[in-house]
C-alpha cells in the first residue's frame, strides 16, 4: 500500500463546524483525507465534502499568475506589475475622491490573519470603514 510522506492536521474549508482533517500528502497531492477519533468536534467523522471535496486544489483552472486587463482582455502579468498597478490606482482614486471612494471585501473563506490584515488595510492604510464580507449571504 502506498504510504503518505506526511500527514498534516488542518481545519476543513467548507462549513462552520470546523472539522479537523488529517491530510495524507504525497508528491504535493492530497490522496486521502482522514479524521482523528481523538479530536473534536468531529471525532473521526466527516461529511462527503470534507472527506472527498478537495480535488479543486489541483484543478487546471487554478490561477497561477496575476492577470491584468489589456484592450478588454485579461492577460498574464508579473507580480511586480500587478501589485504596482493596484497600489497606483488605489492611491490615485483616494487622492482624487477620498478614502470612501474605495471599498474592500474580505472573506469568510480566508483565515483570521488575512481578514485582520484586510480590515487593517482599509482602516489604517486607505482610511475607510468600507470593509465587509458575505456574512449575510
Amino acid at each position: 500500500m502506498i504510504q503518505a510522506d506526511t500527514i498534516v492536521r488542518s481545519t476543513c474549508p467548507y462549513c462552520g463546524v470546523g472539522c479537523q482533517l488529517d491530510l495524507h500528502i504525497r508528491d504535493n497531492l492530497i490522496y486521502r483525507v482522514g479524521a482523528s477519533f481523538d479530536s473534536g468536534p468531529n471525532y473521526g467523522l466527516l461529511c462527503v465534502k470534507g472527506r472527498f471535496g478537495h480535488d479543486f486544489l489541483w484543478h487546471p483552472d487554478r490561477l497561477t499568475t496575476p492577470l491584468i486587463r489589456r484592450n478588454g482582455h485579461l492577460e498574464p502579468a508579473s507580480w511586480d506589475e500587478a501589485l504596482g498597478l493596484v497600489a497606483d490606482r488605489l492611491a490615485s482614486i483616494r487622492a482624487e475622491s477620498g478614502p470612501d471612494a474605495i471599498a474592500l471585501l474580505c472573506s469568510a473563506k480566508c483565515t483570521n490573519e488575512e481578514n485582520y490584515l484586510m480590515q487593517k488595510l482599509a482602516r489604517q492604510v486607505i482610511g475607510t470603514h468600507n470593509i465587509d464580507h458575505c456574512a449575510r449571504l
Binding site: S10, L67, A101, T111, T128, H129, H133
Partner: protein, 544 residues
C-alpha cells in the same frame, strides 16, 4: 446582539447531547452542517432528547423529530411569538430566571399576548394542536437548546426573528446553561472569524464599535494615524449600489464572488461594471474575476498557515500541507505587499503567527491566543489572557450586557408575496454536495457526479396544476429575471413553495431573488420572493 450583548453560538457542539429538548428552526442541518447534525441525531437516538424541526421544507432532520412544524416561509415571528404565548399560558416559563436575570419582560409580554394559537395557526399554516405540542416540548423540558441558521436571518425581519428566538430562550431560563442556549450555525468555515477580527463596516477587531470614542482612540494610537469618521462604512449590498451611483470607484475583493452570491445578480453585474477599478484575489477566475481589471492568484486553505474560527467560537489552526500552484501566494502576503506599496509601515510580518499576536493585542476576546496555545483542540473566545482556558458557554450567571433584554417584536409579511402574476413563493438554500457559488465543489468530479445540475423542488399539487412531471424542464421567472432548470416533484416543499440553490451558474437562483434588505442587520431576503413557473423546452446546451 442587542438581547444578550454578543452574537455567536452561546453553547458548544460538545454539549448538544446534554439537551432534553432541541428546537431546530431555519436550519437544514443535515445538509449544511452535516457533522453537527450527527450530534443532534445522537442527542435524539442515544440520549432521548425531543427534537422539534420548524421549516417550510421537509428536510432530512425532520425524520428524527417528534414534531415537524411546516410553517409558511416568512412567518417565523408569528410562530415564535405563538410558542411564547402558549408557554406563558401553561405556566411553563422560568419566573425566577426572568426576575433575576432579565429586563423588559412585561412590555414584551403585552406584545406576545396578541399572538393566541388560532391567530398564529392562521398566519403560519401550522395546526393549533402542533403549536401546543411544540410549546409543551420546548417549554417543559430543561435544558432546551435552539439551533438556527440563514432560514431565520435571510428575511427583511431577520433581525427581529433572532430577537424572538432570544426571547423564547430567556423565557424558559435556557441561556447560560449546559445543553441550552441560542445557537446560530454559521455557514462558511470562517464567517465567525471574519466577523471577530473586524471584517465588518461597523466594528474594529473584537466587536469594538467604530462609533465608540475609546475604541477610536485605541486604534488611532495603535495604527499611528487618525481614524476614519465614527460612522459605519458600507455593507456589501450598499457598496454595490454605491458603485452603481459612482460614489465608490474602486473595489478590492478577496475570496468572494458577489456576481453569483448576491441577490438580483443581473443588477449586481451592472454595479460591478460601473466600477472604474476592480481587483479580485481568488484561487479561480470566478464570475466576478472575469469582470476585474486586475486578478491576483491566491493560495488555497491547504497551501498556507493560519486559523479559522468555527461556529462555537473555537479558533483552530490551518496548516500548510501543499505548495501553491505556479506563482500563487497566500492572501496575507499579498495584502501586506499592497500595504507596503501604499507606503504603510509596520507591515513586515514574518508569518501568520505574528499576525495572530497582533490580533491578540488589539482584540480582547482573542487576548490570550497564540499559535502555540492553539495547538491541539484550540480555544473558544472570550479568552482574555494567556492563562484563560477559553469559554465553552456564554452568559453563565450573567449576560455580557448585564441583564438579558426581552425585545417586543411583531410579525410582518415578507416584502414580496405571491400575487396573480407571480403566484408561487421561492425560497433558496444549498445542498449537501455543493458549496455556495460552486467555485470549489463544481470542480470536484465526485461531487459533480452526485449533483450535476439544479433541481427545482416543487410540490406535486402545484406540478399537477401546471402540467409538470418530475424532471421536466421548467422556466422560473420573477420580477428580476428568469432561469430554466429541471423540476424535482416532491413533497419536501409545501404547496405554493418552490426551492432553488445558487450553486449553478447556468441556472442561478439569485437571478430571481429580491435584494430588499433587513434595515438593521442589512441581510437580503433570500428566503422569500414571488415567482411564476411554466413548462419549458430543454435549453440547447443541456446535453440530454
Amino acid at each position: 446582539m442587542q438581547a444578550f450583548g454578543s452574537g455567536a453560538m452561546t453553547n458548544s457542539i460538545a454539549d448538544i447531547t446534554d439537551a432534553r429538548a432541541i428546537l431546530a428552526i431555519g436550519t437544514n442541518t443535515t445538509e449544511q452542517h452535516p457533522v453537527l447534525s450527527l450530534r443532534i441525531k445522537e442527542a435524539v437516538r442515544k440520549h432521548g432528547a425531543k427534537l422539534i424541526v420548524a421549516d417550510p421544507r421537509r428536510i432530512g432532520l425532520a425524520d428524527f423529530a417528534v414534531l415537524h412544524l411546516q410553517h409558511e416561509a416568512g412567518t417565523d415571528l408569528a410562530l415564535l411569538n405563538g410558542l411564547a404565548y402558549i408557554i406563558l399560558e401553561e405556566n411553563l416559563h422560568d419566573a425566577d430566571y426572568i426576575a433575576e436575570r432579565t429586563e423588559n419582560f412585561e412590555a414584551w409580554r403585552a406584545v406576545v399576548e396578541q399572538y393566541p394559537p388560532d391567530k398564529v395557526s392562521q398566519i403560519t399554516g401550522v395546526p393549533v394542536e402542533d403549536l401546543v405540542q411544540a410549546a409543551r416540548i420546548y417549554g417543559g423540558n430543561r435544558p432546551a437548546s435552539i439551533f438556527y441558521a440563514m432560514g431565520i436571518t435571510q428575511h427583511t425581519v431577520g433581525h427581529q426573528n433572532v430577537l424572538a428566538i432570544a426571547n423564547l430562550a430567556m423565557l424558559t431560563g435556557n441561556v447560560g446553561v449546559p445543553g441550552g442556549g441560542v445557537n446560530p450555525l454559521r455557514g462558511q468555515n470562517n464567517v465567525q472569524g471574519a466577523c471577530d477580527v473586524g471584517g465588518l463596516p461597523n466594528v474594529y477587531p473584537g466587536y469594538q464599535r467604530v462609533d465608540n470614542e475609546a475604541a477610536r482612540e485605541k486604534f488611532a494610537a495603535y495604527h499611528g494615524v487618525p481614524q476614519p469618521p465614527p460612522r459605519p462604512g458600507l455593507t456589501v449590498t450598499e457598496m454595490l449600489q454605491a458603485a452603481h451611483d459612482g460614489r465608490v470607484r474602486a473595489l478590492y475583493i478577496m475570496g468572494e464572488n458577489p456576481a453569483m452570491s448576491d441577490p438580483d445578480s443581473t443588477h449586481v453585474r451592472e454595479c460591478l461594471e460601473a466600477l472604474e477599478f476592480l481587483v479580485v484575489q481568488d484561487i479561480f477566475l470566478n464570475e466576478t474575476g472575469e469582470m476585474a481589471d486586475v486578478v491576483l492568484p491566491a493560495a488555497a486553505f491547504a497551501e498556507k498557515d493560519g486559523t479559522f474560527t468555527n461556529t462555537e467560537r473555537r479558533v483552530r489552526l490551518v496548516r500548510r500541507a501543499l505548495d501553491p500552484p505556479g506563482e500563487a501566494r497566500p492572501d496575507w502576503e499579498i495584502i501586506a505587499e499592497i500595504a507596503r506599496r501604499l507606503g504603510a509601515e509596520g507591515w513586515d510580518y514574518a508569518d501568520p503567527a505574528a499576525i495572530m499576536d497582533e490580533i491578540a493585542d488589539v482584540a480582547p476576546i482573542y487576548g490570550g491566543m497564540s499559535f502555540e496555545r492553539l495547538e491541539g483542540e484550540g480555544l473558544q473566545w472570550p479568552c482574555p489572557d494567556r492563562d484563560h482556558p477559553g469559554t465553552p458557554i456564554l452568559h453563565v450567571g450573567k449576560f455580557s450586557r448585564g441583564k438579558g433584554r426581552f425585545s417586543p417584536v411583531h410579525h410582518q409579511p415578507a416584502a414580496e408575496l405571491p400575487d396573480e402574476e407571480y403566484p408561487l413563493m421561492l425560497t433558496t438554500g444549498r445542498i449537501l454536495q455543493h458549496w455556495h457559488t460552486g467555485t470549489m465543489t463544481r470542480r470536484v468530479g465526485g461531487l459533480e457526479f452526485l449533483a450535476p445540475e439544479e433541481l427545482v423542488e416543487i410540490n406535486p399539487a402545484d406540478a399537477a396544476a401546471l402540467g409538470i412531471a418530475d424532471r421536466d424542464w421548467i422556466r422560473v421567472s420573477s420580477r428580476r429575471g428568469a432561469v430554466t432548470a429541471r423540476a424535482w416533484v416532491t413533497d419536501r416543499v409545501r404547496p405554493g413553495l418552490i426551492f432553488m440553490t445558487f450553486h449553478f451558474a447556468e441556472a442561478l437562483g439569485n437571478v430571481l431573488t429580491n435584494n430588499v434588505i433587513d434595515p438593521v442587520a442589512k441581510i437580503p431576503e433570500y428566503k422569500v420572493c414571488a415567482v411564476r413557473v411554466e413548462k419549458a423546452e430543454a435549453p440547447e446546451m443541456a446535453g440530454v
